[in-house]
Symmetry: C2
Subunit: 369 residues, 2 copies
């Protein structure tokens, strides 16, 4: 089935909303954070570990799966859910962002993008139509239109061209996308230009997508600018559709997004940080490699109920990271994803209990201390 | 408490026995295979994963833990069990083997071994007394005497010197080991020389250890020679004490050891192979990187009940290995350790039901086909 979205409650003091996203693979409570499973696996996690962490939706990358193992191979076994043994929901991005950030020698044309694989240099061409073919083959619950993502800073002419092309491409995606079990989201571009963002959002909304993403953010601009862009972009999007802020995952940015009316977030941050030994705790980030944790026999975070904190000490975790043990990445990822899950759960609870701003203030006072 | 060992049943047709090893950290049914947790972690496994796999005893390495994070640090938190969050039993080796295989610029003297760390080149000295200090600090259930392990092939004079030194070191270990909660095992050396092995075993037995290991095997000699050495060495060891064949882990060698009266085995093979994509299945070893598995949507092993085989296909596993994903190592290790657990469980069951030789023949006919 196509997704359905229901706003359960609106915050009286902010633009935040509590929602439910119904998919063929379960109901997702929003605001939600989606961990990233780039290559058909959330790095270092088994599916049952993700279940234990209360994760019901993940993001996976069309660009990576198109290159390896190939979307047709995944289609052969019945789609990405079956291929990776994941029973929850999946959102796939269109590959646009990865082509621009990972692909080599990109040539962007109106018909699509020519690029060389970051794995073996082989030549490829992805058009909006091809991006739809790939995502339909993957069988994700939510697919994204093929967009042109620009970097920051960039000139207005360049941003405008990309934003207009993104609208043209969104139309072409919609024209060829007739998969009843997959919902196609549009992506608002327009850089840091208010007029472009608003124009872009309005044009996209005319196309009537079941959900809308805000793209081209968290690409190097100051956080305050990102919040400002959200301030004027989100109100252009329909109230009854889910809103997704792409690539945003810092706890503070998520909360700032929530109060501006965003429902969905994704980022490699918690999983990538975990592998590098940067762990979220209630008082901020902890670099476990720091020598001061050598003989610290307390848990990472005394307040945390995750498997890692309930069973292991900072001294042991540091030893694992120093020794480059795989278990370091496993335990770190469990912790960081649990932290994100808990943050979102507490955010939803605060929304339900009409104390979102207080919760946000308390959380940030501690986290950014 | 010190360990206790009970022979439950002897095989009528071979020297195999079914036993129980009682430790402060649970009862272990023998014959048993002990996975290796070199650096205070069985690579890629959480403790709860090991529990799920029915693993009740692991081996850890004094040499590695002495160098990093240091045995005194581990003692501070109450020992290795607490440090690594492992509730099962632990056997620690003495470091002898690693010093000879990993340490640089070794100088072996009667008083002990001078060597340089393989991590940072720093200089160290380990004597039999130091090896006891380290293992007592680690608090393992079973400690091993400090031995001199020779390579294969080696001349008789060299082997004899090492074997005699191993006896002298075993005496010194015993003299300083007064830890009631840890049981110290002796190690028989003597290379491939029957007279040296027998003399060495007899002298060691005079010292009266609660268990005996056969060391210096699986170091490059042909398998047939290893079996021959077991044929004449095992009968020198007392019937009522556990017998441990160090560093042996190939399924066929384990079965050959079992019928020769060995109770305990350890090896990095199943875990190291798993990380390299070499997976045990009932019909032998499977190299998952082989291109023929690219679109093979069957489980690794149809007969296997492990998490990996119950949930994932060869095509997905190959994709994970090709993409160098951490999950490849996790799922491969779960499978290989489950394979070993099941092999040992089936071996014990066959022993109990008086059909060990038939089981061995059937298993090997398939596994070595």
């Amino acid at each position: 089935m196509a997704i359905k979205f229901e706003v359960i409650k609106e915050c009286g003091k902010t633009k935040a909303r509590l929602g439910k996203l119904f998919t063929s693979h379960g109901v997702i409570e929003t605001p939600v954070f989606m961990p990233v499973g780039t290559q058909a696996t959330v790095k270092a996690m088994t599916s049952r570990e993700l279940d234990d962490l209360g994760i019901h939706i993940i993001l996976s990358n069309s660009y990576h799966l198109y290159l390896r193992p190939g979307h047709n191979l995944i289609a052969q076994v019945g789609g990405l859910h079956k291929f990776m043994g994941w029973k929850g929901a999946i959102l796939t991005d269109s590959g646009g962002f990865q082509i621009f950030s990972l692909g080599k020698l990109n040539k962007i044309r109106d018909e699509g993008v020519f690029f060389n694989s970051h794995i073996d240099g082989s030549k490829h061409f992805i058009s909006p139509e091809k991006a739809m073919e790939i995502q339909i083959a993957l069988g994700s619950d939510i697919a994204m239109v093929f967009d042109e993502c620009t970097s920051y800073p960039a000139g207005k002419y360049q941003i405008e061209t990309a934003a207009q092309r993104t609208i043209q491409w969104a139309k072409r995606c919609k024209e060829v996308h007739h998969e009843p079990n997959q919902s196609l989201f549009g992506i608002v571009q327009g850089g840091a230009f208010k007029d472009l963002r608003i124009e872009n959002a309005n044009k996209l909304v005319e196309l009537d997508f079941p959900g809308y993403a805000i793209g081209g953010l968290s690409v190097g601009e100051p956080k305050s600018l990102m919040y400002e862009i959200l301030d004027y972009t989100v109100p252009c999007l329909p109230n009854n559709k889910p809103r997704y802020l792409m690539g945003v995952g810092a706890p503070q940015s998520i909360l700032e997004g929530v109060v501006r009316g965003v429902d969905m977030f994704d980022c490699v941050l918690p999983t990538r940080n975990a592998r590098n030994g940067s762990l979220f705790i209630s008082s901020g980030k902890l670099s476990i490699l720091n020598a001061k944790y050598k003989d610290d026999f307390t848990p990472l975070d005394n307040e945390c109920q995750c498997y890692t904190c309930q069973n292991f000490t900072r001294a042991y975790l540091r030893h694992l990271y120093m020794s480059k043990e795989i278990l370091a990445s496993i335990l770190g990822t469990i912790h960081n994803l649990y932290f994100m899950s808990t943050l979102m759960k507490n955010t939803r609870l605060a929304l339900l209990e009409d104390r979102l701003l207080e919760f946000k203030e308390e959380f940030l006072a501690k986290f950014l201390s």
